[in-house]
Amino acid sequence: MPQVTLSVNGATHTVEVEGRTLLVELLREKLRLTGTHVGCDTSQCGACVVHMDGESVKACTVLAVASQGANITTIEGLAAADGTLHPMQEAFREYHALQCGFCTPGMVMSAVDLVQKNPQGLSEPEIREGLEGNLCRCTGYHNIVKAIAAAQDVMHGRRETLATAAE
């Protein structure tokens, strides 16, 4: 059986997989990191988004064997070791950017990648377009967009603390 060695949230793992094992299966079933969700399993919904070598990818459409040597970050790896939330997680909480929460891990991971790639700042339509690969079936997009708009100011150092929803 093929072996894969990869780094997940800073820890190195060597895992036995089948050729057909998906990255999301490796994460959820072998490493028990169940924060990464499987929604559609057809690379449309984005619930399974993780970062692979700094790029957001849909882990349901990446073979585990293809992640040999890769650096993976999942939703479990975003917060600081002391539990301090990442500004994007904090913003999702502050702006109530979730309803059932199923799409949330993928939304947060996509949002972090989107904001990191756009240091110039994103307008509301740009945020909406940037989320094209993530579906929320509660249709809670409005607050998700607000959360991302607020988080980008903290991530790019334009504000020290998150703008509150009341502001």
Partner: protein, 264 residues
């Protein structure tokens, strides 16, 4: 998904050997077409040959009056390439509008073109610019490359390694996306340059094709008005739950007009 053996060669020569050794082997890079097909068991390869470790198939470079893009180049890399944006901005536009961010972070130029999905974007750019497809064996003109639905001139043990896009004087692309799937219902890629005036239509038929009447009209008069009255024959176009052949034929003219306007 059925299981398969997995190989990751580091040279084109080794990849060709692996493909030649197993008639049921499949080449894969980003996997954003193949993996969904494997999940549906539409395909049952005994081995996968992962091309993504082959350095010679990577990178974007200018060679004379052409931009040469390695087959493994991801859509997002083409979309954001300063080299591509400066020489053929419409090619960056095409790449930027494929799928979504996560698809663009994995999907590759070579994979899209070798797969030749009727609703894919890149084949329109390849045919519409009169590009040259480089393979492990030869160089193939775009006009000879796309043979039919999901069918190209590539042989079973032949690998698409790069594509050379001649830099046009002007070029534009417009597409109508299905509102749910976002796949192309009909698209038009128009260009004027070293390869003459070319109009490539994707999404509408089973395979990307050139629209000769529009090419003639634009050769005489490069303007949206020149193509406005040219109706695409609906015969042979795709007809499905997303749209009839007649609707797609209508879209061809509309997209061609928009593409000419975008080209300027």
């Amino acid at each position: 998904m059925y299981d398969f053996a997995y190989h990751k060669p580091s040279s084109v020569a080794d990849a060709v050997k692996l493909l030649a050794a197993d008639p049921d082997a499949k080449a894969v890079s980003g996997g954003h077409t193949l993996i969904p097909a494997l999940k549906h068991r539409l395909n049952k390869p005994t081995s996968l040959v992962d091309l993504s470790g082959i350095a010679e198939m990577k990178g974007i470079r200018r060679e004379g009056n052409a931009i040469v893009i390695g087959a493994l180049t991801k859509h997002e890399a083409v979309a954001t390439s300063a080299e591509v944006k400066a020489a053929i901005p419409v090619l960056a536009f095409v790449a930027k509008h494929i799928g979504d961010t996560q698809v663009r972070n994995r999907g590759t130029l070579g994979g899209s073109v070798a797969n030749n999905d009727p609703a894919a974007d890149y084949p329109a750019a390849v045919l519409g610019l009169g590009a040259t497809v480089h393979t492990s064996k030869r160089k193939v003109a775009a006009d000879e490359f796309f043979l039919g639905m999901f069918t190209t001139a590539l042989e079973a043990d032949e690998i698409l390694t790069a594509i050379s896009f001649p830099i046009p004087e002007k070029a534009g692309y417009a597409k109508m996306r299905n509102p749910a799937s976002r796949y192309v219902m009909a698209g038009a890629f128009v260009s004027k340059g070293p390869m003459g005036v070319r109009v490539a239509i994707n999404g509408a038929g089973p395979c990307v094709f050139r629209q000769a009447a529009m090419e003639a009209a634009l050769s005489a008069n490069w303007s949206a008005d020149a193509v406005a009255a040219i109706m695409q024959d609906a015969d042979g176009l795709n007809s499905d739950i997303h749209g009839s052949a007649e609707y797609r034929a209508h879209l061809v003219t509309v997209m061609a007009k928009r593409a000419v306007l975008a080209a300027g």
